[in-house]
């Protein structure tokens, strides 16, 4: 199996998702700065699902799966809510957000800045968000070869 986490949808569970991603990336020997950015992008995407695509706390689940090959980290988020086409969303300028005194509107911008590839798939029962982040030559962990499947 690929390393994965599944939690009930409630914002209190974002912390567990972040620690899952952080520890797994450490085990995959991903450099700290890159790892933090991936944690951030996953946190933003999961927070969006929890806030925008579900009506109530703990009434559905979200799953995150993580793996890497030589060159790339892959993230797959499966959310039981309706798929949101985040790759079509046009974020506002930060100056505009400040002027409007908005508390949000920067999550998808961050995901776009961090990830090299974003794919969204609508399935019958759930939505799949697939991210890829290139590692630009960061070596694999010593001993273990990483199983990608």
């Amino acid at each position: 199996m690929k390393p994965s986490i599944q939690v009930t949808c409630t914002k209190a569970n974002l912390s567990a998702i972040r620690h899952f991603v952080k520890e797994q990336l450490e085990a995959m020997a991903v450099a700290e700065k890159t790892a933090h950015q991936i944690v951030l992008a996953v946190d933003e995407a999961c927070a969006n699902c929890m806030i925008h695509s579900h009506q109530c706390d703990n009434c559905s689940v979200i799953e995150v799966e993580l793996y890497r090959d030589t060159s790339t980290v892959y993230v797959e988020i499966r959310d039981s809510g309706k798929a949101f086409p985040m790759n079509e969303y046009r974020p506002r300028e930060i100056e505009d957000i400040i002027r409007r005194r908005a508390k949000g509107g920067m999550g998808i911008f961050l995901i776009n800045r961090i990830m090299d590839k974003i794919e969204i798939e609508e399935k019958a029962q759930f939505a799949v968000y697939r991210f890829a982040k290139r590692l630009n030559g960061q070596p694999l962990p010593p001993s273990q070869g990483i199983k990608t499947a």
């Binding site: 914002k11 974002l14 912390s15 972040r18 700290e32 933090h36 930060i94 400040i98 961050l110 961090i114």
Partner: protein, 113 residues
């Protein structure tokens, strides 16, 4: 997350401890609102114990920038970890708000302003 609050003469220091994410940002927002409503306009956000911030956490500060400016106050940040600073940079916020390396750089700023 916890928030330590230190009331200075010319400014308030807020020290968020732990992770400031979509979950804990509500608490941070309540804290800022309370301070603003009690008349505080100068804020020092001491990030030395802040382990993580997401866009929802930053949103708390961003949403109050205009009000603070209107009231001729100021909000400055200090002691941000590399990771937290990276989020400011990804958003271009490091060009918009003042960030100091250490909290000891801050008192002078408010004293002379």
């Amino acid at each position: 997350m916890k928030i330590k609050e230190i009331e200075g003469e010319s400014f308030v220091t807020l020290i968020p401890v732990g992770d400031l994410d979509a979950n804990s940002s509500i608490e941070m927002d309540e804290c800022m609102e309370r301070q603003l409503n009690s008349g505080v306009v100068n804020f020092h956000i001491d990030g030395s114990e802040l382990q993580y911030i997401s866009s929802a956490g930053l949103g708390v500060f961003i949403s109050h920038l205009e009000e603070i400016e209107q009231k001729e106050g100021k909000i400055v940040f200090s002691g941000l970890s590399q990771n937290v600073q990276d989020v400011f940079q990804l958003l271009g916020l490091d060009q918009i708000v003042e960030i100091f390396p250490s909290s000891s750089d801050v008192p002078n700023l408010f004293a002379t302003s």
